[in-house]
Symmetry: C2
Subunit: 254 residues, 2 copies
């Protein structure tokens, strides 16, 4: 509906996104008006709405953007990291790196989380591909780790959940440079790798099974390998000027 159909349109969209994000960073989400965004992008108000269905839709595009960036940074760091604890820590820290200056924008993502039916809920259908891509990073971080199959299967989603909690802590962390969150990540990841060998004891087999069954039953375990590589970029419509004809992913309405 709103996605640019032409190459020039894609650039205009990128311009608006840039203008919006810089304003959000300067002044915060609530304090930035759509009129200002349009003005900075050199457009009229209505034009901005041609590219983004709403103010929060911009934030969702940012969400996809962040996720793509995290995948890139994490993969790069993981390529030279072998120790499991380090791999997990590096995955979390790169995420924080990406978000470091954008905590206020990140907070705006929570705006619609309370409404499951809302197309802009970051836990809802629309954002599902992004969420899966996010889980996948943890799946990759676990590559090479020797875990019981049942644990291996639920671990990525579990880590993703933990990472969500950490992001919430990060959002509220008022220590300089969010040093507390950094420390929390290190300690938590150390604890996780200490816990893993213990969990492998046969004694834990029934408990692990129970946990896996519980999460399965709740539909909480997602398999990130379902996602076609970089589908997330297209999923919300991202800035990069597209190369060829690639518009067939629009079944979304508001």
């Amino acid at each position: 509906m709103f996605k640019s159909a032409t190459a020039k349109g894609a650039n205009t969209r990128a311009t608006i996104l840039e203008a919006a994000l810089s304003l959000f960073r300067e002044r915060g989400f609530d304090e930035t008006t759509m009129r200002e965004i349009a003005a900075r992008a050199g457009l009229s108000l209505g034009a901005a709405y041609h590219y983004f269905a709403s103010k929060e839709a911009i934030v969702l595009a940012y969400y996809a953007h962040i996720q793509a960036k995290h995948i890139e940074l994490a993969r790069q760091a993981l390529a030279t990291t072998t120790e499991l604890g380090d791999r997990l820590a590096v995955t979390m820290h790169t995420k924080l790196d990406v978000l470091a200056d954008d905590r206020r924008i990140m907070g705006a993502l929570l705006r619609f989380t309370g409404d499951p039916a809302h197309p802009l809920s970051f836990l809802g259908q629309t954002a599902r591909p992004i969420q899966l891509a996010s889980i996948r990073v943890f799946d990759e971080a676990l590559e090479g780790a020797s875990l019981p199959p049942d644990l291996r299967r639920i671990a990525p989603t579990a880590l993703w959940g933990l990472h969500m909690g950490i992001l919430l802590y990060f959002l509220y962390d008022d220590s300089p440079s969010q040093a507390r969150t950094r420390r929390l990540v290190d300690q938590a990841m150390t604890l996780v790798v200490r816990l893993l060998p213990v969990m492998r004891f046969p004694l834990f087999k029934p408990i692990r099974a129970r946990l896996a069954a519980l999460l399965d039953d709740a539909g909480l375990i997602l398999d990130p390998r379902d996602v076609p590589a970089m589908a997330l970029l297209d999923s919300v419509g991202i800035e990069q000027p597209q190369t060829d004809a690639e518009r067939a992913s629009s079944t979304d309405e508001s």
Copy 2:
């Protein structure tokens, strides 16, 4: 600032809250306008704003209301329940009972969670007393349980965190009567009580210590016993027509 100074005012405030909640239930939070709320309460628009600083402030009052109700229901049920697993399950289930028809209102509480500085964030300063009261219920549910001291200390907050996750699941649960969430609660609580005896092994001592240190360091462990009994009611200003002179808790502005 906005809290009613007279007895009649307190009733008016209650009327507005009632009108608002019934409209929220009927139509949802976003679809209900302040003008409608005022109209149903038999007041002008401006009058409503004399009693509630904003639309979300109404939801925060509802949050306090819910919490008071949960304390009541949970205590009542706990009085006749001895088994730890049952005590935990009953605590969770009563919370779901209280919220069963108000999931949409509950969702509105998330509206400002992304802004740590906002006075209406349900994780922020303003709502802290309510949060502590909420944790306290889990503390009471654990009464009589034989846990290592370090576990005993962090358990209420940990359970509260788990309960938050369950509420999020509850919010998104579209199964009839949210049966899935009910099942999830039962399974999760069973798992917790299975896990506890294992955690008591001396083998786990260092891990428990590490976990406790981590949470302490992060400032995540709150002691619910700090809260003076029912302070939460006054903390946000609740409907009950006050009996005597009890207005001295107002240092809050927006």
